[in-house]
């Protein structure tokens, strides 16, 4: 750095090649260069191997391995070059005053408040109309943009609708046949005591809001009470030891799929809500707030199980319009 020569060109000072700021940080640059080159060669070999592996249609593991080696080799090589062989400095860059000068600010602000402001003051009416027009335009665009997206949800229980546009509706009606997901009608002696089955109203197999879990609590004959511990006001809702509940968890609508026969509990695997089947499926534990709605069922002369009415409330999780 002895001979500072001619005045600077550009804005920044020159340096000499032996300036310590420009020297590689590697102790042995020759060796580092060789290592970096080696890494890149290994990388290249990896990519070649990848092409071969793809060619012979080997497993995904081989593809990942060769591709990984390829990118790792190339990457490590370049990093070594940059980190150990390129000038490391330390170099410095000045931060200049970040914001603009007072003059610049003033003239900028003046353009807005002055040039713009005068126009606004002079044409108040035009501005108002334009703003209003813009607002109406937004509304006009939003209507198809939002309203077309889906049907309006039905407002209340009384509103008739399909299950697609109402949270209150299911396809369960008085007389609907209980069928399995495959469409097989369910007969009264299909289940043993402790057995469970997911059933649907015939014609709606697999439908989400209609899913019902049918449980046989006890072996009861036609002359016994309909089911072991009948809930008040619902004494006729079970039949011959069978009860049926909506399978939609009242927490977030997961299917309440796990029946523990010993404790007669239904467990929701999503957040571990537990419903006591014996006591009208009231939630015993967990975040679910409400009992699973009960479906009144009956048996016809042929032994076919049927719904004896629809649900008396909306199934599934809570929502604002639910009374």
């Amino acid at each position: 750095m002895s001979d500072k020569t001619t005045p600077l060109e550009g804005t920044l000072p020159p340096a000499t090649l032996d300036d310590p700021h420009l020297l590689p940080s590697a102790k042995n640059p020759k060796r580092m260069e060789a290592l970096a080159a080696l890494a890149m060669v290994i990388g290249m070999a990896g990519f070649v191997a990848f092409i071969y592996v793809y060619w012979v249609n080997a497993s995904n593991k081989w593809e990942a391995l060769t591709l990984g080696i390829g990118m790792l080799g190339l990457g490590v090589g370049v990093i070594a070059w940059g980190k150990y062989l390129m000038p490391q400095g330390p170099f410095v860059e000045e931060r200049h005053e970040f914001h603009s000068t007072d003059d610049e600010r003033e003239s900028f602000n003046a353009a807005i408040t002055g040039r713009g402001g005068i126009e606004v003051k002079r044409r108040k009416m035009l501005l108002g109309v334009f703003a209003l027009g813009g607002g109406v335009m937004t509304l006009a665009l939003l209507i198809p943009g939002v309203r077309s997206l889906g049907p309006k949800p039905a407002k209340s229980e009384g509103t008739q609708g399909s299950t697609e546009d109402s949270l209150f509706t299911t396809n369960w009606k008085k007389g609907a046949k209980l069928v399995t997901v495959g469409g097989r009608p369910v007969k009264v002696d299909d289940l043993d005591v402790g057995g469970v089955l997911t059933v649907f109203p015939q014609g709606h197999e697999g439908s989400s809001p209609d899913q019902v879990i049918l449980i046989r609590l006890a072996q009861l004959g036609p002359n016994d009470p309909p089911y072991p511990i009948a809930a008040p006001g619902r004494t006729e809702w079970g039949v011959q030891g069978y009860v049926a509940y909506s399978k939609l968890c009242t927490h977030l609508g997961c299917p309440v799929g796990l029946y523990q026969e010993r404790t007669q509990q239904l467990v929701c695997p999503c957040h571990q809500s537990i419903f006591n089947v014996n006591a009208g499926a009231i939630p015993q534990f967990g975040p679910a707030p409400r009992p699973l709605p009960m479906l009144p069922i009956t048996v016809d002369a042929t032994g076919q199980m049927r719904a004896n009415g629809g649900f008396d409330q909306a199934v599934g999780p809570g929502f604002w319009e639910r009374p």
Binding site: F91, R95, P151, P209, G318
Partner: protein, 494 residues
């Protein structure tokens, strides 16, 4: 030759004026500054692998009979989305690698954003003038989580389908507008009119990525304009940046880093199985898998839902499902809003409205550090609460006890973490410099019984003097005649 073509380009683009400053940009070195780069490169990998996936994935809930090469599924009725994802995994060459790499890249992307954010928070890099970049970053985190959820939902498998059902119910829980929002998003009551997968697809591959790209451009543009922060150190002030130059040093290192990130992602994608949807089966609304586990970045919401008591509010002809609305809408809303306004809250509280380009050591800002630790503890606590059932099984304790433990642990642990961190910071500051001593002290006892301590002499080689930082040089002077003809090198006649 190079000179000529650069000039040709400059005639048309005029980039040389500002370009030089850009090439001379200085990047300070610190390992923690690479966290943001990991996030950036994972996003690049997401775009690349995602485009590959989108060439084969069929975004349709339409039911077909599976005929692909995965034998256990043959003849079953599945949706086109599910069939094509299984196809991607077994019939498209390199498909499984790309699928799994895409999924891993998403997990790494969000993890890197979270850790990057923690770095920015604990070092105070969000202070004036960088508040906007903090907000932009938080928005990218939110969008990343949303897009991760949407992508996870696309294959229409049993596990992710359950997640969509839960999402619908969460939307339903919003007072007044909930059912409208749910119906508009799903095209009707759940499971919707079969439109949900195509809709999620468009949002996942187009809308959200496009917004993220825009935010990313703003993020990096601001970074260039405001320049990087740096840790205090020799020659480093509020008014400069010390480090290595953009070109060529930083470019080389960061390009290499992109390759290494991609290598790690693809190795994970090949060797670490993730989301084997062919084992879960097609989603059916009446079926449930017992291993419902969302991706890790959704776990904290799931945990909050689990420990919430069943506080449904009913009155005036309406239902307000607080047991869902509070943990799944209000709680994350609060967290993200606190994050967004934090820089402003802090500057109001500290009355500090100055520019800050030098970073804090976390211990020097005990209250901020304690607040951050408290927030992290809260998030970890609810995250762990999402595996109450796993823990109950593992420790052989009743589920109900685990639940009650978390109902207390989640609100109390953050408070404990706050005071503990405050104390640790204060202790560390009191002990400042203790760990730093480079060489031993020599303690001597004089004949009169007096003790004196002196520093032991520095051994040669122990001492390394740091260079004074200089501006990036324009020209290299050399006496080497061979080099002297290269661009930017001037021969010095001796």
């Amino acid at each position: 030759m190079i000179d000529k073509s650069l000039n040709w380009l400059d005639d048309r683009l005029g980039f040389a004026k500002g370009g030089r400053t850009f090439l001379d940009k200085i990047f300070p070195d610190h390992w923690s500054f690479m966290l943001g780069e990991i996030a950036l490169y994972s996003f690049v990998i997401l775009l690349g692998t995602g485009v590959f996936l989108s060439l084969y994935f069929v975004p349709s809930g339409h039911e077909i009979v599976y005929h692909g090469s995965y034998v256990p599924l043959r003849g079953q009725h599945v949706s086109e989305a599910y069939a094509s994802t299984v196809g991607l995994s077994f019939d498209v060459r390199s498909g499984l690698l790309m699928r799994q790499a895409h999924h891993w890249a998403a997990d790494i992307f969000l993890g890197a954003i979270a850790v990057h954010m923690a770095r920015v928070f604990f070092t105070g890099a969000f202070r004036k003038p960088r508040e906007f970049n903090w907000i932009v970053g938080t928005l990218m985190l939110i969008l990343g989580i949303v897009n991760g959820f949407l992508g996870y939902s696309l294959p229409d498998d049993l596990v992710s389908g359950t997640g969509i059902r839960i999402a619908f119910s969460i939307i339903e829980s919003i007072p007044v507008v909930g059912s409208y929002l749910g119906f508009f998003l799903f095209g009707g009551n759940y499971p919707g009119s079969g439109i949900i997968i195509p809709r999620f697809f468009t949002i996942h591959v187009l809308i959200v990525p496009a917004i993220i790209v825009g935010l990313l451009a703003a993020h990096l543009g601001l970074l260039v304009k405001q320049k990087h922060t740096q840790f205090p150190g020799k020659g480093k002030t509020e008014h400069n940046v010390v480090g290595s130059p953009m070109f060529p040093t930083f470019i080389a290192k960061t390009t290499g880093f992109l390759f290494v990130s991609a290598a790690v992602t693809f190795l994970l994608g090949g060797f670490a199985q993730i989301n084997p949807i062919w084992q879960f089966g097609q989603y059916e609304p009446y079926q449930i898998s017992y291993a419902v586990q969302p991706d890790w970045y959704m776990g904290w919401l799931d945990g909050a839902l689990r420990i919430m008591p069943s506080w449904e509010w009913v009155g005036w002809g309406h239902t307000l499902p607080l047991e869902v609305f509070l943990p799944a809408v209000i709680f994350p809303g609060l967290i993200f809003n606190i994050l967004i306004v934090w820089p402003f809250i802090e500057s109001i509280y500290t009355k500090d409205h100055e520019y800050h380009n030098l970073l804090d050591r976390p211990r020097d800002r005990p209250k901020r550090t304690a607040a951050g630790a408290s927030m992290l503890t809260l998030l970890f606590a609810v995250f762990f609460a999402s595996s109450t059932d796993v823990m109950a099984n593992f420790f052989q304790v009743p589920l109900i006890d685990v639940l009650w433990f978390f109902r207390f642990f989640v609100p109390l642990a953050p408070i404990a973490a706050y005071f503990l961190t405050l104390k640790i910071c204060q202790e560390m500051r009191a002990a400042e410099g203790i760990g730093k001593r480079k060489h031993a002290l020599v303690v001597e006892r004089s004949t009169t019984g007096e003790y004196t301590t002196t520093a032991s002499p520095v051994r040669p080689g122990d001492e390394h003097e740091e260079l004074e930082a200089i501006p990036v040089p324009t020209f290299i002077d050399t006496t080497d005649p061979e080099l002297a003809t290269a661009a930017g090198v001037r021969r010095v006649i001796r």
